[in-house]
């Protein structure tokens, strides 16, 4: 972000915007940024809260009036606290130990995707949009492809693997977010700990992380969040078909 600001400004285009990691912006010292105390992934702070988003934008735009720089200012508001609803109950009865389920990966993943289907439909009806769509195939087809590769212990092409997983994760998270009481932090934990998809990604990571091919290792490093790598359920995951 700092680089884009710097090069645009050197071309005569004024820039302002949002900084999420203050220490990085201090180091790079781009022309103008507003640091915000929001989670990574939410630079405007609160989804579906136009008033809050407008306050962030107005503050960042006000930096354009400064006559000297660089400017790094702090946004004074934290995002509003969300009430933690009583323990979020996953609506689909997944196996307690996903990798121990008896069916093939293909059967498990396709069944899981099918069980989430009504919640995905509910999410689409509510939001009138989806972020699923990096690849052209439907989630059911992608789940089948992923499962077939795991069952045959065949590697997907690394970049396709990454995009396929991003589409499936988006499908899962959008479906689950349609549930009453679902919270973002709970959804992430649920997906990685309790679903066959999470178990499949852990196996893929274990299979790919020591590959001879550098591009495969690079994709493997981008499959798991750092907090999952540090977690017990990641350390316990096996490779080669789980």
């Amino acid at each position: 972000m700092s680089a884009i600001a710097h090069f645009l400004e050197s071309e005569g285009i004024a820039t302002t915007g949002i900084s999420l990691v203050r220490e990085n912006t201090v180091a790079f010292s781009p022309p103008r940024f507003l640091w915000v105390p929001f989670p990574l992934g939410r630079p405007l702070g609160v989804p579906s809260d136009p008033a809050f988003q407008h306050r962030v934008i107005a503050h960042a735009l006000s930096l354009l009036e400064r006559t000297t720089g660089p400017v790094l200012e702090d946004f004074p508001e934290d995002p509003p606290q969300v009430d933690e609803v009583a323990q979020f109950a996953c609506p689909v009865s997944f196996a307690a130990e996903p990798s121990a389920a008896p069916e093939s990966w293909s059967a498990r993943l396709c069944d899981e995707v099918a069980q989430l289907s009504p919640w995905y439909a509910a999410a689409m009806a509510k939001r009138a949009r989806t972020s699923v769509g990096i690849l052209a195939e439907t989630p059911a087809v992608l789940a089948s492809e992923l499962g077939a590769c795991l069952d045959a212990t065949v590697m997907l092409a690394p970049q396709r693997c990454k995009h396929l997983l991003e589409d499936l994760k988006a499908y899962y998270l959008e479906s689950m977010a349609a549930q009453p009481g679902a919270q973002a932090t709970q959804l992430a934990t649920w997906m990685w700990r309790d679903t066959h998809l999470g178990a499949a990604i852990l196996v893929l990571h274990a299979n790919m992380r020591d590959a001879d091919d550098a591009s495969t290792r690079e994709i493997a490093a981008a499959l798991l969040p750092r907090w999952v790598i540090e977690s017990e359920f990641a350390r316990d995951a096996g490779g080669v078909g789980g």
């Binding site: 302002t16 405007l44 579906s48 136009p50 990096i134």
Partner: protein, 155 residues
């Protein structure tokens, strides 16, 4: 969040490792017009694009064009990082790409106009010099679109 003191040490160290410097002399455009006279482009590094468009690669300094009349309803996100929360974007595209908010600013005549197109990069895994070529090329396009101001959002 995101105060480094609130993060696990491995996350804080990872983010601090991204610190660096920008090449060349410091750039600065002095203010010459009011906000209500500015034509604004939105540029995000969230790695979003229209569904079905070529996804971003693992290390990728290119950009995708987001048409100015887009609703944002069909955006996918192929950002390489898995270390940020995507649920906000899935709920409301404006939390990373505030197109509806800027349309409201134009309707209220607080901003003069928006660019005919907006742009998405994927900010991960590369140092600043990697972006110079594509950003300078984009700057020429923005000048032809009479854009004088860019609003930048990370992810």
């Amino acid at each position: 969040m995101v105060r480094l003191s609130d993060l696990p040490d491995f996350e804080a160290q990872h983010l601090l490792a991204k610190n660096g410097t920008l090449p060349g002399p410091r750039a600065w455009v002095a203010p010459t017009r009011k906000l209500s006279q500015r034509k604004v482009v939105l540029i995000t590094t969230a790695g979003i694009h229209r569904a079905g468009e070529e996804p971003f690669a693992a290390s990728d300094a290119s950009y995708r064009v987001l048409p100015g009349d887009t609703s944002g309803a069909d955006f996918a996100m192929s950002h390489a990082s898995v270390n940020f929360d995507r649920s906000g974007f899935q709920d409301d595209v404006n939390v990373v790409f505030p197109i509806d908010r800027f349309r409201e600013l134009v309707a209220e005549q607080k901003v003069a106009a928006l660019a005919s197109h907006h742009y998405s990069f994927m900010g991960a895994g590369l140092t600043p010099p990697a972006y110079e070529s594509s950003v300078r090329q984009l700057a020429e396009i923005l000048r032809r679109d009479n854009v004088d101001t860019a609003f930048l959002t990370p992810v």
